[in-house]
């Protein structure tokens, strides 16, 4: 008979499927109510509806996309000097806007709009690399302190305390002043070094919290090797606050780069523009041609605001005190 074939009747499969779906939905719903979902997922649910976060995200995404497509978008080569002939040292040191150059040129006759567009690349690079290096240094120190505890922890934390005893921007100036010839890299290293103690402190704090937690105790009693406990059980769970801090540091790095350039400690090679450097270079013309400073400053402010908004709302979303 045809009914004895192993294929189940079509009605039964769909019933089982529907039941499974219903169970899944129920599990998801109860998890939602009881807060049983992962921290990141629940944070994302709140962030999705947070206008502050969305504005920050929109600015950041625009900035990154702009930095990627800038070379195709920019009408001129940022190092070329198409407006050189318009410069009159006495009467007209900075060429104004004209057809083809909507923002005019800078003091060397280069197209300002192109420099602003391409400048997003270097600015993004300075921000990301400084944050990344600071993060690496801080995570290394923080992991050592949090993993070994005891005297290693004390030693590392005293070093961190000393670094924190110099106001951070001042420390960045001091480190940048060490370089015999300033460059993009000395700038990045100076800004990154300042962030190391902050990251280290944060990570060490949450690593120590992890040390005392039940899942680490369980892993230890199961005989998991110490390095596996540190790298698989403690570190991944302790990274949350550090990642949030990194978002905020991106903003700080871009602003600090501008401050270093302003003091003459930035990159003197201006063929590849960076916003902080452009702002620093606009110094001599502040009185007569303030727009040279306004444009790069506005870009820095908007981008720094974007990262700050994102970082602050991330911090709020991940903070257990504000989770209701």
């Amino acid at each position: 008979m045809t009914s004895e074939t192993p294929q189940p009747p079509p009605g039964r499969t769909s019933y089982a499927d529907r039941r499974k779906q219903r169970l899944d939905a129920l599990a998801a719903a109860s998890a939602d109510e009881e807060g049983g979902v992962s921290l990141i997922l629940s944070a994302w649910r709140r962030l999705r509806r947070n206008p502050v976060f969305l504005v920050g995200l929109a600015i950041t995404v625009t900035f990154v996309v702009l930095a990627i497509i800038a070379p195709w978008l920019a009408p001129y080569d940022p190092a070329a000097r198409p407006l050189l002939d318009d410069i009159r040292p006495q009467s007209n040191p900075v060429p104004g806007p004209e057809p083809g150059h909507p923002l005019g040129g800078d003091d060397k006759g280069r197209d300002l709009l192109s420099r602003l567009l391409v400048g997003s690349q270097q600015t993004l690079m300075v921000g990301v690399l400084a944050t990344l290096f600071g993060l690496l240094g801080g995570v290394t120190l923080g992991t050592i302190a949090g993993a070994f505890a005891g005297w290693t922890d004390s030693l590392v934390m005293r070093i961190v305390d000393v670094m924190l005893s110099i106001p951070s921007l001042l420390l960045a100036f001091t480190i940048a002043a060490l370089a015999s010839s300033p460059s993009q890299w000395t700038l990045i290293i100076a800004i990154a070094t300042v962030q190391v103690p902050i990251f280290a402190r944060l990570l060490r704090g949450s690593m120590l919290g992890q040390r005392a937690s039940d899942h680490v105790l369980a892993a230890r009693s199961l005989g998991v090797k110490p390095h596996a406990i540190v790298f698989r059980h403690m570190l991944p769970n302790a990274l949350g606050p550090v990642i949030v801090q990194a978002t905020l540091v991106l903003a700080v790095a871009i602003i600090d780069a501008a401050a270093l350039s302003f003091l003459g400690l930035g990159n003197p090679d201006d063929r590849r523009p960076e916003w902080g450097q452009m702002l620093g270079a606009a110094q001599p013309y502040l009185g007569q041609e303030p727009h040279l400073a306004f444009y790069p400053a506005a870009c820095i402010i908007v981008v720094a605001l974007g990262f700050t908004l994102m970082g602050e709302s991330l911090r709020e979303a991940l903070d257990p005190k504000t989770r209701r």
């Binding site: 001042l170 302003f262 400053a297």
Partner: protein
């Protein structure tokens, strides 16, 4: 309480000792070493060796460090090479200090006087237009580079609208008696009211510029802290007991909410010190910050060494004072 203070003082001495070691290492790792930094362009092999011997740089490093510390404890940090050639580095710091103290003090007063009340009001009216506006303002305030804020204020209030002086600490040609080096205070002490008023006018823009970041931070901490406290059971109890709004505000909310704010204000001294470097440069304010900026630019290492050590010492000392104040307010801290 005494034990707490002594322990914190010892910690501070430790931090400063390690810091001196770092500054020492910093000087040794300068491009080409300290001798090149001193001789600059004039260096020859013979001069190099002579100077190295004279400075004791041919001695082993630990011996050098002990000597460095001996001289430092006697206040001898060498002479300036670039900023004011020949001038004693410590004297440069001391002569510049009053200007920076005056500027930082006014900036801190502005930050606290605006930040705390606005933070409180924003927290009480959470979600209203006032709250949103002040929060946005404080976020933007942090995103603007300090020297650009300084420049904006200078450009509009001094250059465009001509309301306030463009730069400096006092109008040129004004004959004022110096007592403390704090110009406003000097004017008041000597009853030269025109001098005090003139100095005050010069102070407005730089101290406003310097105050933006501390204001934003103090505002945000106050708002967050007041919001936390308003949720506490003891505030609800106080309300249920029918206490007046004034008593609840003063005794229950503000006193508890101020604890984190006090710490934050201490930490803002750091922002003031770094901000002074930028603000003083924009306003040609002849203080420690401007000397630092010049030192960085011209690589005047003896001056930098004094100024950095002094800045760190001030920062650590202020935070020690803050911690002691904190312990006085909150007995729980002392037992730790």
């Amino acid at each position: 309480m005494l034990r707490f203070v002594v322990r914190r003082l010892l910690q501070m001495v430790g931090v400063l000792l390690v810091l001196s070691l770092l500054v020492f290492v910093w000087l040794r790792s300068l491009p080409g070493g300290p001798v090149s930094a001193l001789l600059g362009e004039r260096q020859t092999e013979a001069r190099r060796e002579a100077l190295e011997q004279a400075l004791g740089l041919d001695q082993p490093l630990p011996v050098q460090y002990v000597r460095f510390m001996q001289r430092a404890l006697q206040g001898d940090f060498g002479v300036s090479t670039q900023v004011l050639p020949g001038e004693d580095a410590l004297d440069i710091f001391l002569s510049r200090l009053p200007a920076t103290l005056e500027l930082s003090f006014f900036a801190l007063v502005i930050a606290v006087a605006l930040g705390i009340p606005l933070g409180y009001v924003a927290a009480r009216r959470k979600g209203t237009a006032l709250d949103t506006t002040t929060v946005i303002f404080s976020l933007v305030g942090v995103a603007v580079p300090v020297f650009f804020t300084a420049f904006l204020l200078k450009y509009f209030f001094a250059v465009e609208w001509n309301l306030l002086p463009v730069s400096g600490r006092q109008s040129i040609g004004l004959d004022a008696t110096r007592v403390t080096g704090l110009f406003v205070l000097d004017g008041i002490l000597t009853r030269e009211w025109d001098a005090a008023w003139d100095a005050l006018k010069h102070l407005v823009l730089p101290s406003l510029a310097l105050a933006t970041i501390p204001f934003a931070v103090v505002f945000r901490i106050t708002r967050a802290s007041v919001l936390d406290v308003l949720d506490e059971d003891y505030v609800r109890t106080a309300e249920a007991k029918g206490l007046t709004a004034r008593v609840i505000r003063g005794r229950h909310v503000l006193r508890n909410a101020m604890l984190p704010v006090v710490t934050t204000v201490g930490l803002q001294v750091g922002a003031l010190l770094s901000g002074a470097v930028l603000t003083e440069t924009v306003f040609s304010w002849r203080g420690v910050g401007q000397a630092l900026a010049e030192g960085f630019l011209q690589k005047d290492y003896p001056v930098l060494q004094v100024l950095i050590m002094a800045a760190a010492a001030i920062y650590v000392l202020v935070n020690l004072l803050v911690d002691i104040t904190y312990a006085l307010i909150d007995p729980r801290i002392r037992t730790r």
